[in-house]
Subunit: 589 residues, 2 copies
């Protein structure tokens, strides 16, 4: 059997000796390798298949790492990793786990940044270009940005600065005409017009910003891409190269359903069927979808808002079509989402913004100014909060410090399905304050929490079990851990601890906290987030000048990349056994 070309590529320099015919053959091999690997491990299918030719051309024409390449989001970097010394992570099943799905400087000098959020590459590239200029160097700086990422304000800010830098900066727009779902916003009309006119329409967003502009109608045509990159190499000014690609290119099922194949679990290559179809279990995603769509049918002023991730609360394409006026996707633009829901709420509508915990920091100032300062009664649902096994770029532990220090915001942490739905219902009904609900995990728990007619402040905690000596304040999803701690304590010592569901991340229930002083000596706080600036520290401050002791548990302030949840919890002493050990040490039983 003829040796593959791919197997000869250990570094970008190995590309430079290949003919165009060989480069095209290599693209075919890469695509096959990608499909085989993705079918076993899952991953970002669509964007990586779209980017094969552009990435091969980049490493053929440019000279990484001297020439600096920044991938926006970097979920489309698989071919880049294959070509920069990490091939075996894609063609050797035993080494599939040896790389992450994003660029990571710990893996290679060709990965300049750890990146996982959208719209950041242009800004980072302006920094690289500026550093190069003040150091008097002459390399190329290249940012690769998807069309979806252009809806983020940070990308626009980057473009605005890049356009006037006055030196080499090459921005490749990988336009596959898709975000995770379909694109939304005025800018996509311009991209469409540019595609339709072969880049010739006079009214051109990039030229309007002052960029030199080049158009490549088929970004999966190796010759066209190579020629385009050769022409912009070493330019002395900022240039945008607009390349049209096909999301899922070369794999039929992925080309056909581009939203589904944005990210895919393991699948059968011949049929495109997912290998492990999850059991149809109840999830908070589906629970939210059913609740919201029901409310939206009953009340035309209920409006669901997403920032580019509609499926986070179950709004798939058919459901989106069902509510053309009451469902809005603002693009990958969390600031705009919070600003818009503030406007809707202030004017008598009932908006709900569903957002992934990892992206909430994108809207901090809007939470403070547009929302909290104006007491706009919008509801924000924070999904995927808590310790997870995911990427260091998508951790769900940083939200609590960002929100609980803000005036007027009511931050709620339900412990189960019934409590979640009650809080959500109340949040929609009330007209007094912005409400943030931290959705308690993915799989649904039912525990018969004591529900309240209203969740306005001051906070009222639920005393789930009465006991003495030790009281456990177990926030949200960690209520279950609180129950375990209580059980273990009882098993080991016969002592019955008090177990409390605080319900609120903001505000103190001073009645309960004061009353606990009578028969308790130690408070244990549990939260599924970073401990610095979190819920537990507030309780520690509350009791700071009293005789009550407080032990606070939460995640360590650290970036964690793909570490099993159990292992992280052990590291943070967030297991029932460890907590009981600590408690007994202190109360001396």
């Amino acid at each position: 059997m003829k040796k593959s070309i791919l197997s000869t590529i250990d570094a970008p320099k190995d590309l430079k000796v290949l003919s165009r015919t060989e480069l095209k053959q290599l693209c075919g091999e890469i695509r096959e390798t990608l499909i085989r690997r993705l079918s076993a491990t899952g991953g970002h299918v669509g964007s990586n298949l779209a980017m094969v030719e552009i990435t091969v051309a980049l490493h053929t024409i440019f000279d990484s790492p001297r020439d600096q390449i920044v991938f926006d989001v970097s979920h489309q970097c698989y071919t880049h990793k294959m070509l920069t010394g990490r091939r075996t992570a894609y063609d050797d099943p035993g080494r599939y786990a040896s790389v992450s799905g994003f660029t990571n400087p710990a893996e290679s000098e060709h990965d300049l940044f750890a990146i996982g959020h959208t719209s950041t590459a242009i800004g980072l590239a302006t920094g690289l270009a500026k550093a190069r200029d003040v150091k008097g160097e002459r390399n190329n700086v290249i940012a690769i940005v998807g069309d979806g990422a252009l809806s983020g304000g940070e990308a626009f800010e980057g473009l605005n600065t890049a356009a006037v830098l006055g030196s080499n900066l090459i921005i490749l727009i990988n336009d596959n005409d898709m975000s995770i779902a379909e694109n939304h916003g005025g800018l996509y009309r311009n991209l469409r017009l540019l595609r339709v006119t072969n880049g010739r329409v006079e009214c051109n967003l990039f030229r309007a910003l002052g960029f030199d502009y080049r158009f490549v109608s088929d970004g999966n045509d190796m010759d066209a891409v190579l020629d385009a990159l050769i022409r912009v190499k070493d330019v002395d000014h900022p240039v945008v190269v607009h390349l049209c690609t096909v999301k899922g290119k070369g794999y039929g099922p992925a080309e056909e359903d581009r939203e589904k194949w944005h990210y895919m679990g393991p699948f059968d290559v011949s049929t495109g069927k997912q290998l492990y179809t999850p059991e149809p279990v109840e999830t908070y995603e589906l629970l939210t979808r059913d609740f919201l769509s029901d409310q939206m049918k009953k009340d035309r002023t209920v409006v669901a808002v997403t920032a580019g991730t509609p499926k986070i609360f179950g709004f798939d394409e058919p459901l989106r079509r069902q509510f053309p006026d009451q469902f809005i996707d603002v693009g990958i633009a969390e600031a705009q989402a919070v600003s818009m829901v503030s406007g809707i709420a202030k004017s008598g509508g009932k908006p709900v913004f569903g957002v992934s915990c990892a992206f909430l920091p994108r809207a901090c100032d809007q939470l403070l100014q547009e929302l909290a300062l104006n007491k706009s009664p919008a509801v924000i649902l924070v999904f995927f909060a808590g310790i997870s096994e995911g990427s260091q770029t998508h951790m769900g532990i940083f939200d609590i410090p960002l929100t609980i220090h803000l005036p007027h915001l009511i931050c709620l942490a339900p412990t189960c399905k019934e409590e979640y739905l009650r809080m959500l219902t109340w949040g929609l009904e009330q007209t007094e304050a912005p409400v943030i609900i931290r959705v308690p995990g993915v799989a649904v728990v039912s525990r018969g929490a004591e529900l309240m007619p209203s969740y306005r402040l001051p906070a009222k905690y639920e005393i789930a079990k009465r006991g003495s000596l030790v009281a456990i304040l177990a926030l949200g999803k960690l209520f279950a851990l609180g129950e375990q701690v209580r059980c273990h304590l009882e098993e080991r010592t016969g002592m019955a601890a008090t177990l409390i569901n605080p319900r609120y991340m903001t505000g103190f229930d001073t009645d309960v906290l004061e009353h606990l002083k009578c028969a308790h000596r130690l408070i244990v706080t549990l939260e599924d987030g970073v401990i610095d600036g979190g819920f537990g520290e507030r309780i520690a401050r509350y009791y700071g000048s009293s005789d009550m002791k407080v032990l606070s548990y939460g995640a360590e302030k650290a970036f964690v990349d793909h570490v099993p949840v159990r292992e992280q919890c052990e590291r943070y002493r967030l297991t029932a056994e460890q907590i009981v050990d600590d408690v007994l040490n202190i109360v001396g039983l």
Copy 2:
């Protein structure tokens, strides 16, 4: 003497009976009133003089509050306030203090939002428009946005959504060709081209985004503005009206030096001279300017970055001209600033980003992802942090919770000039971690702090005075209060407390904290920021399970609008007398 027209205007309806000649006369009266009032109180001179005709026309043609008007930043709302029942706040010196300098729903139903940050109006307006549509109402929604604010990504995100809303939304661009300082970025080339071609150039940023676009070459020409607004009233789609105005219009000195007159203290109307020229005292602004410009001369890789507020660290126009390559203004775009400095630092440059505390939340995600995750050794200087008498929209108390929970960031709080400069010097030299320095106030303090060769982690606290029983951890600027507390304690009880300068907001000096357990029973923490999620709560958590008591002092979690600092401190028990009372209550002396 003829009665003025202005004196007859108690509400917008009173404008609707006036002839165009009378409206023009009214504009003259308003301008005179503004200049007289501003000369006595100070305020945003340039933008308010520019906006007279547009505001009068708005309230003549539209029907506020049924038609909803949102002012971006809202520092240009003085004429709006004059016309909506608050005239006496401008023409009666005894009532000058009766309104704030920003829109405020507490003052009037014509003020829809409390706004003070840039780039928010379009997003809020998209929300108002959406609420109107789902409620089946038919009013106009109008956003007024300055050209400077368009550089903020949030404004772009708003435009992107607005363009496809499909219903009435009128965006007035008040283009006076200035931000606070001159504009920077590619978009301003397009605005200039539009001005030069009377709006006719084909390549048009707003049309590219899909907007209907109208151009008014003289936005201070009452007839032209009235005609333009009449034409867009009740349109059934989103439209941008681009009006060119003159910053400082009608007042010679303000038209001549537009940066200086963006915001001005009380002045002499005839000469334009400021009445109270501040004594040439040493400030951290000037200290930073001198230090940085010196470093920039010595080292071409030192780069100073601002997001539209160059004077925050003293970069006035001559100084900016002196460093064309090493000084960058990215526009009002804090996210881009953090992203860019991360890129510069990662590539071997030495960037320093100076930012006002009130605007740091704009870049939370960039602090987490681009900066902290990538350990980019950039330096961020946070100015105007702490309790102040300013607007509720510009409070300086929310930064500590936003930064101290982030991994890898080193957050420093110098107590005096020498310590500040030492930390800044070290921050520039080191290549390990991002460094945030909380600049300790405006006026410079010198106290001979113990300086360190390095401020890397783990934290090392400075024990300024040794004592027993009580230890005071006084952060940054509040070190002076710590000294006072110590004095009062000694005066009242003869007891010498320990006084500590923690230096670091992040990290514990466990040696010191453990050692304190020997001879101390109470820790007092002082911080010039919101107490929730702050420094004191971390110390309370540290000692939570020990016998040490902790009393934490800081600002209350609340929005505070123009309340004297002394009054706020008393409210928070942040005075030496109150703290000593509390301490004695606990230690029982």
